[in-house]
């Protein structure tokens, strides 16, 4: 559905997007992650047709964007950063205008608008000028604009930015419900969002792809992946804990034992393998007293930080 090859954008001597290639299939929700200034918005603008690439090809549903931009734009719903809209219009006027531009008139228009209003929960502000709406409503008006013509491709630049937790939840639900019918690209800073809605994530920094995989695959790259947390009971003295630590360190596969807090230790296994059965057996065999034991999946944000800081540390100051 979306095919990107060698996409590059230069602003003078500065390369904002550097040779990006990836595909997004129908049913996929691709999360675009990266620090500020990584090239996320620039890439999305190029795919939506607001910017012309310096090099590279963009094909949407098999159509080359440079050869037939209007046909491509009909297939895309694009939410620009900050969800801009004409503030002098009321919500319903704005949606009618967008519907007209997409060639929806009369009954078809009414159906499309009613459906979109329901999806984005805008019914209580329909007659209000967009200017006076709260940030959350403005964002939803932007979303309504993207969804109105039921496009095959959705490109959304930070769709949940500035929303409260309930609104974020609603929007994520909305995206998840549509996902099977569409190809979706969203950019975000919020890593829990990636786990919640993305079937795949790309981490970019300085315009380059640094990682590409499912959220699970990315989590496995975390230093703490399959780390084993053990909460010891309160009756363990400091020396008991030291003994436990020492005995754990003698085990095969145990790379390191880290003291997290008073009664809480974490075991880092060799090669991030799952050693929970070995450890729990060892604990009970030696009658060490513990409350709970659980496996760490690895945190996406630590993966994100590891990847983006290693690769940008020699950079000239974009991230710093």
């Amino acid at each position: 559905m979306i095919e990107i090859k060698h996409l590059t954008k230069k602003f003078g001597a500065f390369t904002a997007v550097d040779d990006l290639s990836f595909n997004v299939k129908k049913g996929e929700v691709l999360g675009f992650l990266g620090p500020n200034g990584a090239g996320k918005s620039t890439s999305m603008k190029m795919i939506a047709g607001a910017l012309t690439p310096t090099f590279g090809n963009i094909h949407i549903c098999g159509i080359d964007i440079t050869k037939n931009p209007i046909a491509v734009k009909k297939k895309i719903g694009y939410l620009p950063e900050g969800a801009p809209a004409w503030g002098d219009m009321s919500v319903v006027e704005f949606l009618k205008f967008i519907a007209n531009i997409h060639g929806l008139f009369g009954k078809l228009q009414t159906i499309a608008i009613d459906k979109t209003i329901e999806l984005t929960q805008l019914s209580q502000v329909l007659q209000q000028p967009i200017d006076i709406l709260s940030k959350g409503f403005k964002r939803r008006v932007g979303l309504a604009q993207t969804l109105l013509h039921d496009p095959e491709i959705l490109i959304m630049d930070e769709p949940t930015d500035g929303l409260d937790p309930n609104q974020k939840h609603d929007i994520r639900q909305l995206i998840t419900n549509m996902a099977s019918e569409k190809s979706i690209i969203i950019s975000t800073h919020i890593l829990e969002e990636v786990e919640a809605i993305c079937s795949r994530a790309i981490i970019i920094a300085n315009g380059k792809i640094l990682a590409d995989g499912t959220p699970d695959q990315l989590q496995r790259m975390a230093a703490d992946h399959n780390g084993l947390h053990i909460h010891l009971t309160n009756n363990n003295s400091d020396s008991d804990i030291n003994n436990i630590t020492k005995s754990l360190l003698t085990l095969k596969y145990v790379d390191d034992v880290i003291k997290m807090s008073e009664n809480h230790i974490m075991i880092r296994p060799e090669n991030r393998q799952n050693i929970s059965t070995i450890i729990s057996k060892h604990m009970s065999d030696n009658s060490f007293n513990f409350d709970q034991i659980y496996l760490e999946k690895g945190r996406l944000d630590s993966v994100f930080r590891d990847i983006t800081t290693i690769n940008t540390s020699d950079d000239k100051g974009l991230i710093k």
């Binding site: 607001a50 910017l51 012309t52 002098d88």
Partner: protein
């Protein structure tokens, strides 16, 4: 409905849902009346024509039209709605033409509301109504030229103040390029060809031909090409934005 009509409708609504249209029309009418009666001496001249009414239009337009056009594109760039226009399935030229036409329609309405002076002059004497109609058309064409210049300048900046000042200056230069002030600056050193060109591109010269009743194709073509030139320049500026 074509995209031009859809965007035209949106723009006209924007003028009338905000105070812009009302303020523009009222101020235009007050100023045009003040100029006609006090500076132009409409009644004192004791002539059955509207020369004292039309001759001040260029100077009024220099101030009022850039005030109308300064937001035309600057506002879209500032608020980010330009990105919507660029990513909706429309040809950007349709948006440029629609916005231009909506502003032009607003000026046509303001100009149309000056009809009492036409009635007055017909009541007081027997003017040449052909000349008056030609002058109205000439005034509207000139307004179109100023609008196109303003549209172009507005597309180059997101700052409305800059758009206003630069458009006013450019409109002034185009208006006054045939005036003694400008000519005396160029005449000592510029070649005759260049001097003639400067005199000929003057909006004022072409407009004065029309209000004197000498309406020829050349003047009309002049204004229409000025409009097309600057609307096309607007497109080039917006296209350049997609590249940089």
């Amino acid at each position: 409905m074509s995209n031009i009509a859809i965007i035209f409708k949106r723009e006209i609504n924007a003028y009338f849902t905000t105070p812009i249209a009302y303020i523009f029309i009222i101020i235009f009418l007050i100023m045009v009346a003040a100029f006609t009666f006090f500076l132009g001496g409409f009644l004192l001249r004791n002539q059955a024509d509207l020369l004292s009414f039309f001759q001040f239009h260029p100077w009024l337009y220099i101030i009022l039209i850039p005030a109308l056009t300064m937001r035309l594109w600057s506002e879209e760039i500032q608020t980010g709605t330009i990105e919507l226009l660029l990513t909706l399935p429309i040809n950007i030229m349709a948006a440029i033409i629609a916005k231009f036409l909506a502003a032009w329609a607003l000026i046509a309405i303001a100009l149309g509301l000056t009809f009492p002076i036409w009635i007055t002059v017909n009541y007081l004497g027997e003017p040449d109504n052909g000349v008056i109609i030609a002058s109205y058309i000439g005034s509207l064409l000139m307004a179109g030229g100023f609008l196109a210049i303003g549209s172009f300048i507005s597309a180059t900046t997101k700052n409305q103040v800059i758009a206003f000042i630069v458009s006013t200056s450019l409109c002034f230069l185009f208006t006054a390029s045939g005036s003694p002030m400008i000519i005396s600056f160029f005449s000592p050193w510029a070649a005759d060809g260049i001097l003639n060109f400067i005199i000929n591109i003057s909006l004022l010269g072409n407009f004065q031909n029309i209000i004197k009743g000498v309406i020829d194709m050349g003047d009309i073509i002049y204004f229409l090409s000025l409009i097309m030139l600057f609307l096309f320049a607007t497109k080039l500026v917006i296209d350049a934005k997609k590249d940089a």
